[in-house]
């Protein structure tokens, strides 16, 4: 065939080739589409699952326990995140984790524990799935352990509670256990409020670990709340320091002090000795952890006397300017004798309180029905809970019975046969400073004024308070509670401790009072339990603590010292009742 012929040749369609090619092409496309449709529509779950396995994660946001602060925002309890180190012994064994002993040595070193101990815990039972190696390690140590890359050794977030004020407010604030649950004091009472729960959320993470999509909440977390106490840490530390000094100097078994704001019923300080360090959980002792200011009740002794006078004035059985004969300084009732330190002769009401005359008090107490006196004690907060709402609070004790002998009625008037906590005592004195109004005690900072009850008429409260000024002046029983610049209305008390079948050799020294009289601000009660020294009188042991704390606290609160004119007026007033 020539070249020409070749060109003229008509191209021929070879039908079967075309069909084959078209068939193949169609087949390829249908199979592709089919496969795509299969993946997309008929069975998408499997791949979705595979993708989710690689990208879906559940993250949890840990929350720290709420802060506890004092009224000025100073921290009393702070939680800091730490880590717990734990091991899964099964995984350690399966992955041949003991091959490199140097890593275990490094772990033991950083945890400050012998390597043998740690290894024993992991090796003892290879089928065990969980064992703590160490709890509450700092983030730096945790980081180090992470880099050791020990198989089967993991970290778990936890939280550690620090108490920056240490022993000063240990019993009040309380502590948490190692699982971050409050077991004492405020931490216990307000546990639910302070505790939050972590929130858990499903997220999608990219290959490099960043969260790229937030999906549904698995568990709605609850954010913890902070707590603001009514405590003023400046006063608290002063109170604790002075109380500790007194407790040690007198070798007392224990001591308590309560400082109340007269006008609101807020607790500004509440300290106890002996105390403990809440930051170290080793060797905690029950007797150190008790908040004695509200769990322990004592016979209040003479500190109760002003309230007998107030009750009698209120009942109208005596008048403010009455003179009562205490001659000859002792008195026989029901076969027993009530006696004074010496014969004081004729005394005004103020004189009875200043000299703490038992005879005078007996006469006042017997002038009114016993039920009336007990009723007055009760309305002033004895035998009732104070409203502070803390675990273990004692309500004190007032006997409720029909028959009282005259001698028992007399002892009631000088503070025997009934029990009061230091908190109750401070609260009773706050009535005097607050124009006869009794407030519930609050340990939380109040936002608005509480609702009080008028338990004494304002005139009675004012005149009893002014009668007490003489106690800390020359000739009174508590010169050591005298504060230059801030006149004090207070009363000493010294009570023998009751033992089975009578009264023992141990004493309780008390002092309670309000100041400054011209403009009352604080009520303080100091109780020193079982002083072992030569002196055991409230005026010698508790009064100096009162004076130091009261004057320091009033200065810190910027309370103005008494002016000359006020002083003259007050002196004239107390002289007129003498």
């Amino acid at each position: 065939m020539s070249k020409q012929a070749k060109r003229k040749q008509k191209p021929q369609l070879i039908q079967w080739r075309l069909y084959v090619v078209v068939g193949f092409v169609c087949l390829m496309f249908t199979s592709l589409i089919g496969r795509a449709a299969y993946i997309q529509i008929i069975e998408p779950e499997k791949l979705r699952h595979e993708s989710d396995m690689r990208t879906l994660r559940t993250t949890s946001r840990e929350v720290q326990r709420g802060l506890i602060t004092d009224r000025n925002g100073e921290m009393l309890a702070v939680s800091v995140p730490v880590k717990a180190v734990y091991a899964d012994p099964k995984v350690v064994h399966d992955k041949n984790g003991f091959a490199d002993m140097r890593r275990w040595q490094a772990l033991a070193d950083v945890l400050h524990e012998p390597k043998e101990d740690i290894l024993k815990r992991v090796q003892s039972n290879p089928r065990k799935r969980f064992t703590y190696l160490k709890r509450q390690v700092t983030p730096a140590v945790a980081d180090y352990i992470k880099q050791l890359k020990l198989p089967g050794v993991y970290l778990k977030p936890e939280s550690r509670r620090y108490y920056p004020t240490g022993e000063i407010s240990a019993q009040l604030v309380g502590i948490t256990n190692i699982d971050d649950k409050g077991i004492e004091g405020i931490e216990n009472t307000y546990d639910d409020w302070l505790t939050g729960t972590p929130s858990k959320q499903k997220v999608r993470k990219s290959r490099d670990g960043h969260v790229v999509e937030r999906l549904d909440m698995v568990q709605e977390g609850e954010s913890p709340n902070d707590l603001v106490l009514s405590i003023d840490q400046r006063i608290q530390q002063l109170a604790y320091r002075e109380l500790k000094k007194a407790t040690e100097a007198n070798q007392a078994t224990s001591g308590s002090i309560v400082v109340l704001d007269v006008h609101t019923g807020e607790v500004l300080a509440m300290a106890n000795t002996p105390s403990y360090n809440p930051n170290s959980r080793e060797n905690l002792q029950g007797f150190r952890m008790r908040n004695r200011a509200l769990t322990d009740s004592y016979e209040p002794g003479s500190t109760i006397k002003p309230f007998v006078v107030a009750a009698a004035l209120e009942a109208g059985t005596i008048k403010v300017d009455d003179i009562i004969k205490t001659n000859p300084g002792r008195m026989r009732i029901g076969g027993k004798i009530v006696r004074d330190g010496r014969n004081y002769g004729d005394l005004s009401l103020s004189g009875i309180l200043v000299h703490s005359s038992n005879v005078g008090m007996t006469k006042i107490a017997l002038s009114m029905p016993v039920q009336e006196l007990l009723g007055a004690y009760q309305t002033m907060g004895l035998g009732n809970y104070s409203g502070i709402n803390l675990e273990g609070e004692s309500a004190g004790l007032i006997h409720d019975r029909r028959r009282w002998s005259e001698f028992e009625r007399a002892t009631l008037s000088f503070g025997y046969g009934l029990m009061a906590t230091p908190l109750q005592l401070a609260r009773m004195y706050s009535i005097l400073g607050n124009k006869g109004v009794l407030y519930p005690v609050s340990i939380l900072k109040l936002k608005q004024e509480p609702e009080g009850t008028q338990v004494l008429s304002p005139e009675v409260a004012q005149s009893v308070m002014e009668m007490l000024v003489g106690v800390t002046e020359k000739g009174g029983t508590a010169l050591k509670a005298h504060i230059e610049g801030y006149p004090v209305a207070g009363k000493t008390g010294t009570a023998r401790k009751a033992v089975a079948g009578g009264y023992g050799e141990d004493y309780v020294a008390l002092f309670a009072g309000v100041a400054p009289v011209h403009n009352p601000k604080l009520a303080i009660a100091v109780v020193v339990n079982e002083p072992k020294g030569d002196r055991y009188y409230g005026g010698d042991i508790a009064a100096p603590v009162f004076a130091a704390v009261m004057s320091g606290a009033l200065q810190m609160l910027n309370v103005e010292p008494i002016s000359k004119r006020e002083k003259v007026r007050l002196a004239a007033n107390s002289r007129s009742v003498e």
Binding site: V78, P139, Q233, S551, P561
Partner: protein, 104 residues
């Protein structure tokens, strides 16, 4: 020849013009798809950034708590009192030495 010869480009353009609304919709679909991809990518970027900020917040919170502890232990009242009295020879004036200044 000239009669039967058809201008392909012309026909294509005419046909396109004829179906201009469909074409427009097709274009919008494509644009929309791109926009979806773009915004979801942006969304992921923001989520990632948000997450990093949350982590930063947690880190700062931990640092704050530790600093708080340090501040508290350094400014503890009894420590201040001790330093003021022992090292700086300061003392608290007695109430009788205080002078009250009234702000009018």
């Amino acid at each position: 020849m000239s009669k039967s010869q058809l201008n392909l480009t012309r026909i294509v353009l005419q046909d396109l013009w004829h179906n201009k609304w469909v074409m427009l919709l097709a274009l919008l679909v494509v644009l929309n798809a791109i926009a979806v991809v773009y915004t979801s990518h942006e969304g992921r970027k923001y989520t990632s950034q948000w997450d990093q900020l949350l982590q930063e917040r947690d880190r700062l919170d931990i640092e704050w708590r530790n600093l708080l502890l340090e501040e508290q232990s350094r400014s503890e009242h009894s420590r201040i009192t001790r330093i003021a009295t022992k090292e700086l020879n300061m003392n608290r004036p007695l109430p009788k030495n205080e002078i009250v200044v009234r702000v009018p």
